[in-house]
Every structure is written in C-alpha cells, then in structure tokens.
C-alpha cells in the first residue's frame, strides 16, 4: 500500500435487485487516492458516480470489495463505526446543500463539531464561516439565504472539522454558472489551504479540469 494513500478501493462491486432482476451499479472498481490529491469522478447520468461516492464515504455498503479510508477498513466496520469514522475524518458537500432547516447558518456549521464533542464549536464555526465570507449572515436560517450562500454554509460545515477526505456530490448542480464558478473556486482554495483530499463527482468538465486527476466512469466501471 502506498504510504501516502488516504482512500483505497479494491474490486468494489455494488449490485441491487430491481424489478428487471439483478443490476450491477458499480462493477469491480479499484482506485487509490493519495493525501491532498484532488480527484474528479465524471460520467453520464446513471453511470454510477454517486453510488461509488456513497460507497467510498461509507454511506452505503458494497456487495463485495474492500475500502480503506484514512487507514481504517471501512468494510469491516458496522454502521455506527463508519459514522464515527466520518465524524473524525470525512466532510461532505452535496448538490442540494442539505442544511438543517431549523438551524441557523452558524448552528449548521457547529453541528459536526458538536457531534465530534468539540467544546470550541462556536468559535471554530465562526472562523470557518468568515473564511467563506458569511460572517455577517451567521444568524440566518437556510430559507433566508440564497442558493450560493447556502452552499457556502455547506462548504464551511464540510471544512470545519478539518477532515482528511472531503466528498463533494455535484456541488454546483443547483447553482447558476456564475455562482457555481465562485463556489468551485472557494472549494479548491480551501482544499489547497487545508491539504484536504478532495473527491468530487461532477459532470461539469470545467470543474473536473481543475482537479489533479479525472476518473471517467461508464456503466459502473472506471475507464
């Protein structure tokens, strides 16, 4: 195993039952991602990008294969074990932001810190919100924020725990081109500053082009 490797998948396969019979969504995927590397997974709709992301992040279990994330064997952990690993080492940015509607911007950012039991949650959250330029909107609820602002809160939330790996699922999918570009810039800037490993699912070629490596996915397999 590469000493620098932070995320490694070996012969990853995911099958699901459907009315048409057994479907293979991810087919024998192996990959190795080094620390601080940025990787884009691209492909057409239905190619299996999001499923691969879910498997790599431990949100879903593979039918077969092995995943090592930040030195831990994901596939050997139960759901709660994977959750604890996520709390310590993983950050997420989603296409639909996924902010908790009943929490304010700063409370949303505090949430992962609180889950990890950090006492300095508010100060750290405020600092991170300042880094994404939202220090003046900390007390706003998600519904009072624009799409771009909501995604910046989500990015702040993803970076606030200083994760080893940050997974982003179509982070610009719900945003207009201009806002999308600014969000992507923010994401890459923060990534560079924090030396985080970035795994990004997108079908936006320009976004993918900013990554160090692009993995093309087709019918569940990497090309």
């Amino acid at each position: 195993m590469n000493l620098m490797s932070v995320l490694k998948a070996e012969n990853l396969t995911k099958k699901v039952t459907s009315p048409e019979g057994m479907l293979t969504i991810v087919n024998d995927v192996s990959l190795d991602i080094a620390a601080a590397e940025s990787v884009a997974i691209v492909g057409a709709s239905g190619a299996g990008k999001s499923t691969l992301l879910a498997l790599l992040a431990g949100l879903d279990e593979p039918t077969s294969g092995r995943i090592t994330l930040a030195g831990a064997d994901l596939t050997a952990l139960d759901e709660d074990g994977r959750a604890r690993l996520r709390a310590e080492r993983v950050g997420f940015v989603f296409q639909s932001f996924h902010l908790v509607p009943s929490l304010t911007a700063i409370e949303n950012v505090m949430l992962p810190l609180e889950l990890a039991g950090r006492r300095d949650a508010r100060a750290t959250a405020l600092e991170t919100l300042t880094r994404v330029g939202l220090e003046h909107r900390t007390g706003h609820y998600p519904r009072q924020l624009s799409g771009g602002e909501q995604q910046r809160v989500a990015i702040a939330r993803a970076f606030v725990t200083r994760p080893a790996v940050l997974f982003a699922d179509e982070p610009t999918g719900n945003l207009d081109t201009h806002t999308g570009e600014r969000i992507v810039s923010l994401l890459f800037d923060l990534n560079a500053q924090s030396h985080t490993t970035l795994v990004l699912v997108t079908h936006d070629r320009t976004v993918a082009a900013r990554c160090g490596r692009v993995l093309q996915m087709d019918s569940g397999a990497l090309k």
């Binding site: 759901e79 959750a83 993983v90 996924h98 509607p101 009943s102 304010t104 990890a116 950090r118």
Partner: protein, 829 residues
C-alpha cells in the same frame, strides 16, 4: 458532547423555528381533551353520587336491631369519614288526649350526612332549611302527625316517659320514603333524649342505623372493610339497594361518561399518532444528515427521544392546565344546567391525563422514532431511501398495547373490554380495506370532474398509503363522536320515558279482596289513571324439585334469603309492559287453573332454577306445587307493583290475600286521599312523591352531565381532528408550490386541496356512520341496557359533518401553504 446536551440544544432551536409546534399542539389538545373530560366526569360523578346519597341521608348505612359496634365507627372516623346515628322505633305520640302511632326517629347532631332537612312553622307550611337537629327536649313532628293530633309550635307532646316541646314542624327529610316500610308519620328528636323516653327495652323492636359519608374512594374501601367485619345481624345499605331507579341512572350515566372518556383517549391517540408520523417525516433528512456527519444510531435515537419526552412533558403540562380551565369554564357556563354546587374536582384526572399522554406517546410515537433512527445515511444522496420497513409487531404492538391498556383502565370489565377492542380492531380492518377500495375508485372517478377535483382526487389516489392512514384516523374520530351522539340520544329518550309525568306516586296495599273493585272505581272516578291492581298473598317456599329448601345449599346469601323468606306472590292473566318474557311463554287462557309459575330473572339466577323445575309453597297452611313455565325480566325501576313470582290465574283465588295497586294522583288535592282513607280504612296509603322527586333530581343531574360531557367531548374531538389535519399539511405543501410554479392560480390549488379534503371527509363520514350505527346497537343494548333506535341522522351528520369538518380543518391547515410564495416552499424543501 453527549447526546442529551445536543438534544436539548436542537430542541430549543427547533422550538424557536416552530418545527415542533404541530406536535406540541396535537399532544396539548389531546391531553386537554382527556383531562378536561376526566375532570368533568369526576366532578359530575361525585355530584351525582352525593345527590343519590340523599335517599339514605348518607353514602352508606349500617343497620341492626342490636347496638352497633363502636369498631365500625372508630374505623370510619380513622378513615376521615363523617358519621351520624339514627334510631327508629314505633311509639304512640300524645298531645293531650289526641294520639297517633308514629315513627320516632332519634338522630345525632351530624344528621343528615347527605341532603337537607326542611322545616316550617305550621303543618304543610312553606319549607325552610333546618339548622341542625332538634335540641334537647324538643321534637319536630311531621305535618301529617301534627295535623292528626292538633300539635302546633310550642305544644307539649308525650313520647314514652318523656315530654317534648314542638319547636318546628318537619316538612321533609332526605331519607323518608326510600323504602315503603315507613307507614307511620315521623317525629324527629335528639339522639340524647331517646334513653329518657325509656322506649328502648330488652325485646323492643327498633332499628339502629349508623350513617357514613365521605369521599367516593374512601366510602368504597370502607364498604369493603365493613362487609368483611360486620356481624351477620347487621345489614349494610347503600344507594344501589335502596333505590334501584337511582342505581340504574347512575350506572348508565357512569357508563356513558366512561364512553366519553374513551372517546377522548382514542382522539388523543389519533392526534399523537398523526403528529408523530409528521415528526418522523420531517426528520428523515436531518437524521440521515446527522449520520452522514458522524452520528451513531443510538445518538440520533437519544436526540429524538429526548425531544419527544420534553415535548410530551411540556404538552402534558399545558394540556392539563387547558383541560382544567376548559372544564371550569364549562361548569360556569352550564350553571343553569348543573343545578346545585358541584364539588371541587379531584386531582386524579390530572395524573390520569399525564399517564395517558405518556402511554399514548410511548405507544404511538416510539415505534416511528425507532424507525427514524434506522434511516440510512445514504438518504442524503438518494431521497427515495427511507428507513427499512418495520416489523409489524414492532410498529403496531406498542400502540395496540397502549390503547388496550387505556381502554381496560376506563372500562374495567373484561366482557366490554373484549367487545370494544374487538370492535375497534374490526373497524380498523374494515376502514383500511374500504379506504383502499374507495381511494382506488376515486382514480376512476376523476375522468368526469373539473381540474381542481381531478387534482384533488389524483392526490388521494397517488398517496394511497397516506390517504388510507388519514382516512382511518378521521373515520375513527368521527365514528367515536357519532357513536357518542347516537347513544346519548337513546339514553336521554330512555330517561324521559322512564319516569313520565303520570308515574304512580301513590301506592295502596291491604285492599280487601271484596273491596278492590269499589276501590279502583273510586280512584277512576277521581280521574286517577289506574295502574294494574294485583292480588297479593303471603307464601313461603318449602321445596325445590322435591327437596326441602332448608337442606339446599345456595351459592349466595341472597339466594338463601330468596328461598327462605316470607314473600308476596301474585297471579295475573296479563303481563305488564315493564315485564318481558325471556324464556318459556306467558300464560294463555288454557293455562287458567294449571299449577304454573312465572319467575323473575333474579330468582332464576340466585336459586339456579331452570324451566320446568317444580317449586312448592306453603300458602297459609295450604301446600301448592307449581312448575316454572316462564322467566320474566322485570324493570324494577318502573314504579309499578311487580312480583318475583307470578302464578297462573285461577289457581290461588281461594287464598286469603289482599290487593294492591298504584296510581298517579294530584298530590296537591289532599281531599281525595282523606276521603279515600275514610271510605277504605283498612287500606294503607304510601305517597312516594318525595322519592320520585329525588329520583328525578338524580336523573336530571345525570342528564345534564351526559349533555355537558358530550358537548365538551365533541368540541375536544373537533379540535383534535383539526390538529390531525394540520399534521398532514406538509405533504401538500411542496406539491401546491410546484403547481403554482407551473402556473396554477391560488384558487385552483386551494380548490384542489379542498376537493382532496372533502373527498377524505366524506369517505371517512360514510365509514364512520356505518361504524357508529353498528357499534350503537351493542353499546345501547349491552352496555347501557336501553333500547336502540336506528337514527338516519347519523348518516347525514357523518357525511355532511365529516365533509365540512375535514374541509374546514384542511382549509385552516393549508391556507398558509397556498398564500406563501412558491419559491419559499421550494427552497425550503
């Protein structure tokens, strides 16, 4: 950070953001309904009991010919009960030369424990409330007695060895006429004077009564104590035994009030179940997100549980306060209806309300919360992923247990409990099944209707599971309210029928056989409605199926008493309307002179008899044997002469006996009675006006109780249903925003939503009316034991009420959704 702290923090945040409002509202309303009904039932129950106690002047009376042990009094006082003593004996009272055999009643200072003694300054004068009891050396003769011996205030009367001054004329006392034995007019004196009269001698016939009164529960447990500790010669009297009319009124109103409580419980359950569902729906995403951010299942479960417990506690506190306030307001608002002072409510309903809220919350909210915690983190990427399907036992088990426990708690009767739970379960199945079909049917219907209706009906069909769940909830709520309305009507009608204005208020016994026709003619000439006149013969049972009764063993003391006591028997060719043959057949003309006897259900049960059994009687030395040819169910509370044993006509005519009859006479015309007494001196006359008045008063109170509790439950039910609709509005939010984005105007969307609610309401109404009609038969006949009258209005109420109510609730709930700019909804989704 521990889960508790974060739970409290998110709770606070969710509270601030209004997210928990609906859950809190639903549980608050449910608890308010439950405790409100509970408080009211409790207070009215106590009031009715107190009123009933007036017949005895106490809640319990221990009666004996021998001095009563101090042990019972000490025990009663130890339990905080009030006690009084009453000694009754017959003695001649003199006013100079005039004399009259009178019922002397010596009472102690606490008398009466229930009810009031009314006195006046002249016989038959205007009554005023007496303060206390006659002082030492004073007596209060009854009007009849005073008139008979010409006594006035200040007269000196001789009773036994003592002389007394008349200080008041007794107009009424609560315990007169509870039984028909009080023939002689009464004179009330102080208990401390009785010894001085020297009337109490060894062998003198007297009745010593120990009176007890106090809070219901205490009386109940004391009654149990006394039953195990009293001597054989002592007799325990309670209201049930003394006045069957009052007992049945209390029983029925009590059962109705229980039913109302049950309705409140079920409404509460429906509200909580709906609110919990909504809570779960709204939190699926947050739980998935929390898990993605690293929360374990136990952690998310702790968070939601803590929230739920806090919400439960807050809602229970608010709810009980609201319930207390609501019933207090109702009592004030209904002051005219609930005559007299209502006792203050006990605290029990508060505890019960709290416990119920927790039981219902646990039963209905816990399973969905357990499910909620199983929501996979994957949901953040794929919204169609929800928690795995639960085990049916886990999902419904706790809810069924909670409801079953509560129903049993209210009913405390295994038969009714099984019937109720069985019926409810059957209704769930039928409603869910019918709902499924009807929802399917609406899919077909929507071809022929306008766009709003099409949209509304399409919604119903598409969200089939949701629709069926809502339908079940609404149908149950409406059904319970309709059921309450149906049986309330039957109960009120039955009570109105039970004591019509011409209920006999005069009983005449000892009418000589050769005078009975003259006697009835006399009554009829004076406009009296004659009730049946029946012959009456004293008899003693000697053998059952050839075996001497002395050698037979009986299961209960009552059975032994029935078999061995001297009893009055009669014969007749016609059956009274208050008698119903349940087995065998009534006498036909061919049966005349045959040795046949018709026996009341009580006798059949206590003596373990069956049709065809032979009974042998000693009728004044004449031995007669007869076989049981029919069983009669007798309405003992009809105020008509009735007998346990009725023989075929033409068999006992030769026996030495007398006749009895009862009639309604205008009591304001005492001339008729005086004339009657002069013409038929041997006839004994009883006026039961006072008892009738007391019975009517209890029934009035019970009536008012039923009315007010019904009204209150109805209101509570409506509010709960509105809260339930409120809980379902989220599902409609997103779609209406979508539709408006697509160009539908507000009114189209609103009409669509209303169409959906109207369809839901009408469907629930139909099912509810059907359910209430079926359940009404059982509840009326078996639980309340009153005749059931099918009421076509149930269908109208169900249909129109269901449609309008759900529509209105739906409009309330979705108004804001439609008025909100769609962008806000879509962005928030």
């Amino acid at each position: 950070m521990n889960a508790l702290a974060i739970a409290l923090r998110t709770l606070l945040r969710e509270w601030k953001s209004g997210e928990l409002g609906v859950l809190v509202l639903a549980i608050t309303v449910a608890v308010a309904a439950l405790t409100g009904v509970g408080f009211l039932v409790d207070r009215i129950g106590i009031a009715v009991d107190n009123q009933a106690g007036e017949v005895l002047a106490a809640d319990l009376v221990l009666e004996s010919a021998q001095p009563i042990d101090d042990r019972a009094i000490v025990e009663a006082q130890g339990r905080g009960l009030r006690v009084a003593r009453k000694t009754g004996l017959l003695s001649v009272v003199f006013n100079g030369d005039a004399s009259q055999l009178s019922a002397v009643r010596a009472v102690s200072s606490a008398y009466p424990l229930r009810g009031k003694v009314m006195v006046s300054n002249e016989p038959f004068g205007a009554p005023t409330l007496a303060t206390g009891i006659p002082g030492r050396g004073e007596v209060w003769p009854e009007s009849r007695l005073a008139a008979a011996i010409g006594a006035t205030i200040g007269s000196e009367l001789s009773i036994g060895a003592s002389k007394f001054r008349v200080s008041h004329i007794l107009i009424s006392r609560p315990d007169q006429g509870a039984t028909f034995v009080e023939l002689a007019p009464a004179v009330l004196m102080n208990d401390e004077d009785i010894a001085g009269t020297q009337l109490i001698q060894p062998g003198s016939r007297l009745t010593r009564s120990q009176l007890f009164a106090g809070p219901r529960d205490e009386i109940k447990s004391f009654s149990e104590w006394i039953k195990t500790h009293k001597k054989e010669s002592e007799r325990l009297l309670d209201v049930d035994e003394t006045a069957p009319q009052i007992k049945s009124a209390i029983d029925r109103s009590g059962r109705f009030l229980s039913l109302a409580s049950l309705v409140a419980v079920l409404l509460c359950a429906i509200a909580v179940a709906m609110a919990a569902r909504r809570y779960v729906q709204r939190h699926l995403d947050s739980v998935a997100l929390m898990k993605t951010l690293g929360a374990t299942r136990a952690f998310t479960l702790t968070v939601s549980l803590t929230q739920l417990i806090f919400v439960g506690i807050i809602a229970a506190i608010f709810g009980s306060m609201l319930g207390f306030g609501a019933q207090a307001w109702l009592v004030v608002a209904l002051k005219g209806l609930l005559k007299g002072d209502l006792p203050p409510p006990g605290l029990a309903p508060l505890g019960i309300g709290f416990l119920t809220a927790i039981a219902v919350l646990g039963g209905f909210a816990l399973p969905p919360l357990l499910q909620l915690s199983r929501t996979p983190a994957l949901r953040v990427l794929r919204r169609d992923v929800g928690p795995p399907a639960p085990l049916v036992v886990l999902a419904f088990g706790p809810a069924v247990l909670a409801i079953a426990f509560l129903i049993y708690y209210v009913l405390r009767d295994v038969t009714f409990f099984l019937a109720f739970v069985g019926g409810l379960a059957a209704f769930v199945v039928v409603v869910a099944g019918a709902g499924w079909l009807l929802v399917k049917l609406t899919k077909r219907l929507r071809g022929g209707v306008g766009v709003s209706w099409r949209y509304g009906l399409a919604n119903l069909g598409r969200r089939r599971t949701e629709s069926v769940v809502q339908l079940t909830a609404f149908a149950h709520g409406i059904m319970m309210l309709l059921l309450l309305a149906v049986v309330r009507n039957d109960l009120l009608n039955d009570w109105k029928r039970s004591l019509p204005a011409d209920t006999p208020n005069f009983f005449f016994i000892n009418i000589p056989p050769d005078q009975h026709q003259d006697f009835t003619r006399f009554l009829e000439e004076r406009g009296a409605e004659r009730a049946r006149a029946l012959p009456m013969v004293r008899a003693r049972m000697t053998h059952i199926n050839g075996k001497p009764v002395d050698e037979l063993k009986f299961a209960t003391p009552r059975g032994k008493e029935f078999a061995t006591r001297d009893q009055n028997i009669t014969w007749a060719d016609k059956l009274g309307r208050d008698n119903e043959i349940t087995e065998g057949r009534w006498f036909t003309p061919e049966d005349t002179g045959k040795p046949l006897v018709s026996v009341s259900t009580e006798y059949m049960k206590e003596l373990n008899l069956k049709l065809g059994d032979t009974l042998q009687f000693d009728i004044a030395g004449d031995i007669r044997t007869a076989s049981v040819s029919s069983v009669r169910k007798v309405k003992w509370d009809s105020f008509q002469p009735n007998f346990f044993l009725m023989f075929a006509p033409g068999l006992l005519e030769g026996s030495q006996g007398t006749w009895m009859t009862a009639t309604h006479l205008d009591a304001t015309n005492p001339k008729t009675i005086s004339e009657l007494v002069r013409r038929f001196p041997s006839v004994s006359v009883f006026n039961v006006d006072d008892l009738l008045r007391q019975v009517r008063s209890v029934i009035d109170k019970a009536l008012a109780a039923v009315q007010s509790v019904f009204l209150f439950t109805l209101l509570a039910g409506l509010v709960v249903l509105i809260a339930a609709v409120q809980a379902s509005r989220e599902e409609r939010r997103y779609e209406s925003a979508m539709l408006r984005t697509l160009g539908a105007n507000r009114s189209t969307v609103l009409k669509g939503l209303l169409a959906e609610f109207a369809a839901l309401g009408v469907l629930s109404g139909i099912l509810a009316a059907a359910g209430a009609s079926v359940a009404g038969v059982y509840v009326a006949r078996r639980v309340l034991q009153i005749p059931y009258t099918p009421d076509p209005w149930v269908w109208i109420y169900g249909l129109a009420g269901g449609g309008l109510l759900v529509c209105f609730a739906g409009w309330l709930a979705t108004r804001s959704v439609v008025n909100q700019p769609p962008v806000l909804t879509l962005r928030g989704a």
